[in-house]
Amino acid sequence: MMKTFAVRNLKLCTKDCLCLYVCPSGATDTENSIIDISKCTGCGVCADACPSGAISMVPWFYPPQQPKKDSVCDALNAMAQSKMDAEKSALQISSSTNKDGLARLMKAVAKSERLIAEDIMREAGYMLPQSHNTHVLLDNLIKNPPEGFPVEAAEKLLAMLPDNEL
């Protein structure tokens, strides 16, 4: 069994407060509605009791992501590039036009293309922030940072997200 802790989705929470009654450690009863994971024992009773399905049990450690073939990654990366070219064009048009409809449509196109590209990169070997791929990428960026790259942010990420494939 994976060791887990409880998290509450505030958008779904209907404040029935059953989690407060059933929690054996008081982790669910907090002034900001965020479950105190330092107290959570991972028993899952709150998630079972919640009538609105707002509480999920999430693992402390994630399993390795699925391996990807280079042929698939290459094809996905090419599509992502096209999507990001469209995003850039749309943002340029949106910020330079004085037509309200066009500005909004181009913002929508940019947002949509970004979401598609994100989904593509997720399937192209970057599903998990804790993956080995992510670590290699961050490590390379820290060792050979392009001009102006926020090295400190990348270093913090490496320290906060241990490689789950080691």
Binding site: V58, P67, K68, K69, D70, S71, V72, D74, L76, N77, M79, A80, S82, M84, D85, A86, E87, K88, S89, Q92, I93, S95, K99, G101, L102, A103, R104, L105, M106, K107, A108, V109, K111, S112, E113, L115, I116, A117, E118, D119, I120, M121, R122, E123, A124, G125, Y126, M127, L128, P129, N133, L137, N140, L141, P146, G148, P150, A154, K156, L157
Partner: protein, 226 residues
């Protein structure tokens, strides 16, 4: 004859409707997702049903040794452009959000913003060129889908299903804008599904996303102004 919306799968069945599909005006829209009439295609007859991967592809999975190939080599960084790296990092930021890791999400967003800021400007940015780009993407999805199917990669296949539908919708809307101009968007709202990117024009967001089926509250209204 039955006609299928290529974006949301809505079926227009001549046998059940008063007006045959061919007689509908060009301005007619899909009642479910708002796609143009030209985004419908006649339902393929069972015999020639879009010729999906023949049974043989499924029966012969690739040897495990090939599937285990590492997704990326260490030299990979050189191959990814600032745009791709920006999408990669904002994707990981969303991954952190889903794992309830707000601080990590913020750091990945910082990296994504950096790569967005160093992405070179597009010289000939125009609505016409975006329309052409979308059109070539629609074309290229079939090759992407073949690569995914050959590798039995169903996650990559899913990306093709959602991505192609949303791309068709974007293409449809951009072409309509080129034809109708500002009138298309006057006094109405534009909504983007924050999960799959589907774009909808209307006063309110649809109850369910026609592409990925999430509820209305997952849609974001696009505001005007800079």
């Amino acid at each position: 004859m039955r006609y299928i919306c290529m974006i949301c799968g809505y079926v227009y069945d001549d046998a059940k409707e008063k007006v045959p599909f061919e007689s509908l005006p060009a301005s007619w829209k899909c009642p479910l997702c708002g796609a143009a009439k030209s985004d419908f295609k006649p339902e393929a007859k069972p015999a020639q049903k879009t010729a999906p991967a023949p049974a043989s592809t499924k029966a012969a999975p690739l040897p495990t040794a090939q599937i285990d190939a590492p997704a990326h080599k260490d030299s990979d960084l050189k191959k990814l452009s600032p745009g791709q790296l920006s999408a990669l990092c904002s994707n990981l930021a969303r991954g952190c959000e889903k794992q309830y890791k707000p601080e990590e999400a913020g750091l990945f967003r910082e990296l994504a913003d950096y790569f967005a800021s160093v992405t070179p400007a597009i010289d000939d940015a125009s609505v016409e060129n975006i329309a052409a780009l979308l059109w070539s993407d629609i074309d290229n999805y079939s090759g992407l889908r073949s690569a995914a199917d050959e590798a039995s990669d169903r996650g990559a296949a899913r990306v093709c299903v959602w991505g192609e539908r949303v791309t068709r919708m974007l293409s449809s809307l951009v072409i309509r804008y080129l034809n109708e101009g500002e009138a298309l968007l006057a006094d109405t709202n534009i909504w983007v599904c924050t999960v799959c990117g589907f774009v909808f024009i209307g006063d309110e967001a649809p109850e369910l996303c026609p592409v990925c089926k999430v509820p209305a509250w997952k849609f974001e209204k696009i505001e005007g102004g800079k």
